[in-house]
Symmetry: C2
Subunit: 169 residues, 2 copies
Amino acid sequence: MKVGIVIFPSKKLQDLANSYRKRYDPHYSLIPPHLTLKSAFESSEEELGKISTELERISKKYGPFPLKTTKISSFYPVNNVIFFKVEPVAELEGLFDDLHSSFFGNPPEYTFVPHITIGQNLSNSEHADVYSQLRLLKIEHEETIDRFHLLYQLDNGVWNVYETFLLGK
Amino acid sequence: MKVGIVIFPSKKLQDLANSYRKRYDPHYSLIPPHLTLKSAFESSEEELGKISTELERISKKYGPFPLKTTKISSFYPVNNVIFFKVEPVAELEGLFDDLHSSFFGNPPEYTFVPHITIGQNLSNSEHADVYSQLRLLKIEHEETIDRFHLLYQLDNGVWNVYETFLLGK
């Protein structure tokens, strides 16, 4: 099955992200708003236990940290993905590095740009239209992140949580 | 915000339940298949911490236990709800009782009938039609449950996981 590792921000920030995702993100109904720490990879039900043990170890290394977002940005022209840009902090980068270590077998496919997607799979003209409006918005949000989640994907495409890992505990 | 406490069974049983829920359960897109331990109640973001501490305490009292389902049943005529009937075991009943203790303030509204809903909000004639077919199916499934989840509801109605609690740990 497919598994992935994400941070779910507060309900408040999820509700705000969903107000955009509803219109601009076809994954709206498959997963709540999230910051991806490790994108989907294959695992068996048996391997989940080992992954869980490793994530438990990693979660103890980092304390809670601030998640701050001040603007909406885009990966265009690489991807027509629009997102809340999240300011990088040492804990986020440490988590990302640890989740792409040799234990997990696969080095990252790209540089880590922490973000919460609010729009994707847009055509070039849709993207231009939507982004030209959203980029003008001021987002001023800061909160504390104290956990991350290991997810798995059901056959219908919906992601569910296998386990929560509390930072520093 | 609204919170609730559920058990998510294995991916395999969730996929099976979803094959029915897709057609018969309007909550299909709001929450994956689950066994409700405590239905939705109001909580503040601050109270979540206290609830989490209490759930941590309760989760240590019980070890992993078997979840066994052998048939599809219905709450008709009380409710037009069709479900996988889950055989009651001491751990499930203990969890239910502890989650309806004075700490949580509200005694249960009904006797605990452990189940995984696969159809609801059906008209009387739909219910009669669907249930007359489903009740003939043999479901033979057994697995081990080793965790439960504290959920909260987003503004769009979707439930997300706040925290996982591992039984006996």
